[in-house]
Symmetry: C3
Subunit: 170 residues, 3 copies
């Protein structure tokens, strides 16, 4: 009896978590990431999002204080979307018309915007981890990211994945 | 003895299923999705494919009855691949030459076409779920999708993922 | 007691492995794949990488012996990156400037190059499986791939995935 309980507790403890590596900063993939994260959080899963490479762009503050950067870091910053509102579509981007269309349609059909989805994720206790190696490569500073973001490397990701039964790379 | 059996039954019950979020409509990723799905179905796994965003394009009927749509929905329909035969490659698309090359090579090397892979998946009992939120955003109507497709939101996906030991996002 | 041990052994045996389908040959995704693989191997996981489609390009030898190929196979070979050093970025490729920038930044910040990451993965016992169906489609010959690569189809992948608790598609 005790054994069954122990087994079932263990399996519950390890079975409910979800982890997503958010690698892309395509608007459509960002929406997919947060819809899945929020859906899982809504049914009680602990969800960890690990933002790496381009994914960092969607957790940048809308109006950050200016930070001092070296030349290359500035170049990267200049070329990448400044925040979630500037993301492009993976297809049919059409020089920015595609994202506007999608955002308009979502508004008209009463679907939450990406920014609400992000806010909602935070409020539901979804964990936001920024990949420190990517921050280093792309010259992204801690001050530029949303205040509730935490920081970690691949070990932090693997720990979350180890305890999750659903692990996605988006 | 009973306990071991219970544990092993439980683990069998939850261990065999597979879920794939089919997000992309690139021909190459479509082929990968169905090869994995069919491979898993062949060894007895229950496989659920969740078609979201562009992924919806590969489960459109080849010759659908015309459906009436609003302006934006028509625009989206006009810009997206009409069905699986119109998919592009994620790389080397070369204005449509790439997909023709890949399809030709596959035919010459006696590898099933995407359309056969899809039909085979259906016949092996692979579950096709169309994401209703994406359908709403992209103006895709139920009548446009293959008859055996079912409909669901993120909750339907998460239920399948919860019971699967392999969960991919493609 | 014995039962608990059995259960825990079983769960250990099946819980530690990791599998990654390496589908893309984008430099950024290649780096992500190997950072995750090496991270997992470092904490004792058995990691299997299944290289399919474009992913094959990153496990090509730097200086292969010439192999004889048919016309279409030659065409594909001509259009695809010749090896890991020729990979492009998924974004901001800028006719090859993007990859050079990323590689430079990584060097300056003392992050391992993709080539070191690959070598390190091999030395840590990460398994490299080349997808034979993709090799067939894209005209890639065994002699062109790194000597320690093994060969398999979707069944080989599914076997690894079945025994893994983290399965990614990159």
């Amino acid at each position: 009896q005790a054994i069954v309980q122990a087994a079932s507790t263990m399996s519950n403890a390890t079975a409910k978590n979800k982890s997503i590596v958010v690698f892309s900063d395509d608007l459509d993939k960002a929406i997919a990431s947060f819809v899945i994260a929020n859906g899982a959080a809504a049914v009680g899963s602990k969800v960890s999002l690990f933002f790496t490479f381009w994914g960092l762009n969607m957790i940048k503050k809308q109006n950050p204080e200016p930070v001092s950067k070296g030349f290359m870091d500035k170049m990267f910053g200049f070329m990448m979307p400044r925040n979630s509102k500037k993301l492009k579509l993976s297809k049919m981007n059409m020089w920015g018309m595609g994202p506007k269309m999608i955002r308009n349609v979502m508004k008209n059909k009463k679907i939450e915007s990406l920014e609400s989805l992000i806010q909602q994720a935070h409020e539901s206790g979804v964990e936001f981890i920024a990949c420190t190696m990517s921050m280093d490569v792309m010259g992204v500073k801690k001050e530029e990211l949303l205040d509730y973001v935490t920081f970690g490397g691949v070990a932090a990701y693997l720990e979350r994945a180890e305890e999750s039964n659903v692990n996605l790379f988006i």
